[in-house]
């Protein structure tokens, strides 16, 4: 089982991080939409935001680690793509990093605007760095807009991978799912 990425496909760490984060980001989107509809007496009124914040911080840590890992690994070969596909995929893939970073930081700024730290599942807490009156409101608006934008880009990204898999019939999706050809069982 290949740990690092190669020209032929992604290694285990990249693949694991990718799918864990995909589930995490989509899950937090759904959780975020749902948790704001809860009434005061719902048993999840407090728990849902706690989970949302905690998973969000863990995804933020994963994002930073993943970016470093990406820079430290060889890129799988994309010479089979048409020039517009290569350009579009670079924009989306590299663009995901600042997009997700801004999404997660804006969320962090909502909860820490009053100086309070964020508790991550009771394991550790992230201190507040910026306290400003009304920051929770402006950060909140940014967080909401970026959440929808992230899901839109993710949907585009998923649709493109399915196009490559089912229409172009190449290994674009497979190399993120099962890695290089030689390591698939």
């Amino acid at each position: 089982m290949l740990i690092r990425d190669t020209a032929a496909g992604y290694g285990l760490i990249t693949r694991l991080t990718h799918w864990v984060m995909a589930v995490g980001v989509i899950g937090l989107f759904v959780l975020g939409l749902w948790m704001v509809t809860l009434n005061y007496y719902s048993p999840y009124y407090s728990a849902a935001p706690d989970i949302h914040r905690s998973v969000g911080i863990l995804l933020l840590i994963l994002l930073v680690l993943r970016f470093g890992w990406r820079l430290a690994n060889p890129k799988p070969d994309d010479s089979e793509l048409k020039p517009w596909e290569r350009t579009a995929s670079h924009i989306v893939h590299w663009g995901f990093y600042p997009l997700l970073l801004a999404l997660m930081v804006s969320g962090y700024l909502i909860s820490t605007a009053d100086g309070r730290p964020i508790e991550v599942f009771g394991w550790f807490s992230v201190p507040s760095l910026v306290q400003r009156k009304g920051l929770e409101d402006s950060a909140g608006e940014v967080h909401e807009i970026l959440a929808y934008l992230t899901i839109a880009v993710a949907a585009l990204h998923a649709a493109a991978s399915l196009k490559h898999h089912f229409i172009d019939r190449n290994r674009i999706l497979a190399r993120m799912w099962s890695g290089p050809p030689s390591s698939s069982s």
């Binding site: 005061y40 605007a113 929770e136």
Partner: protein, 191 residues
């Protein structure tokens, strides 16, 4: 005694200036924050949750000889709600509660003052969350007089209880939290 037109005018002028001597206009000293609008509401019936509105302004006219002629007007920036918790304050500003985006100001304007000894009941219209209702504020003077810096100040404290549903705020906080108690501490500087 024969009064010349001049002396008649002189006396009339003096009386006109002298007559409303005890009635005065005051501006609430929000510049130096010698006024506050505080609220409290029960949390689940287990404790008092307190907060305040940080930004507001107001004026009052007070006549210590005729307190029933007093008037007061206060304008509150609803998005200045501050319960010492960023996430809660964000929720309070949302459509679930104050909907500050659509209702940025709450206004109280008095229409009458009824005295009972030293205590006053200020009757007036409160516009909150887009709903205007007549309310009564139980008020009493705290003190007044000259300050060391050349000004003249008058202070009051007023309390009132607002049923949230009366103003269209119907987010269910439970049976113990149907009403919010407001305390207004006001110090005005005579103009």
């Amino acid at each position: 005694m024969k009064l010349s037109p001049f002396s008649l005018a002189f006396v009339a002028g003096t009386l006109a200036v002298a007559a409303p001597a005890s009635a005065a206009d005051f501006v609430i000293d929000t510049a130096k924050a010698h006024a506050s609008i505080n609220f409290r509401v029960k949390h689940l019936g287990y404790s008092w949750l307190t907060g305040r509105f940080d930004d507001f302004s107001g004026t009052f006219t007070y006549d210590d000889a005729k307190p029933e002629a007093s008037k007061v007007k206060v304008e509150i920036s609803t998005d200045s709600v501050n319960s010492n918790h960023a996430e809660r304050d964000k929720h309070l500003r949302s459509k679930d509660f104050l909907d500050t985006a659509n209702h940025p100001k709450a206004v109280f304007e008095s229409t009458a003052v009824k005295m009972s000894g030293d205590k006053a009941t200020i009757v007036g219209n409160l516009t909150l969350h887009g709903v205007t209702k007549e309310i009564e504020i139980a008020a009493e003077p705290v003190g007044g007089g000259e300050d060391p810096w050349g000004g003249f100040r008058q202070g009051f404290v007023g309390t009132t209880t607002l049923p949230l549903k009366d103003f269209g705020i119907d987010f269910d906080l439970g049976p113990a939290s149907q009403e919010v108690e407001l305390t207004l501490n006001v110090e005005g500087i005579r103009q």
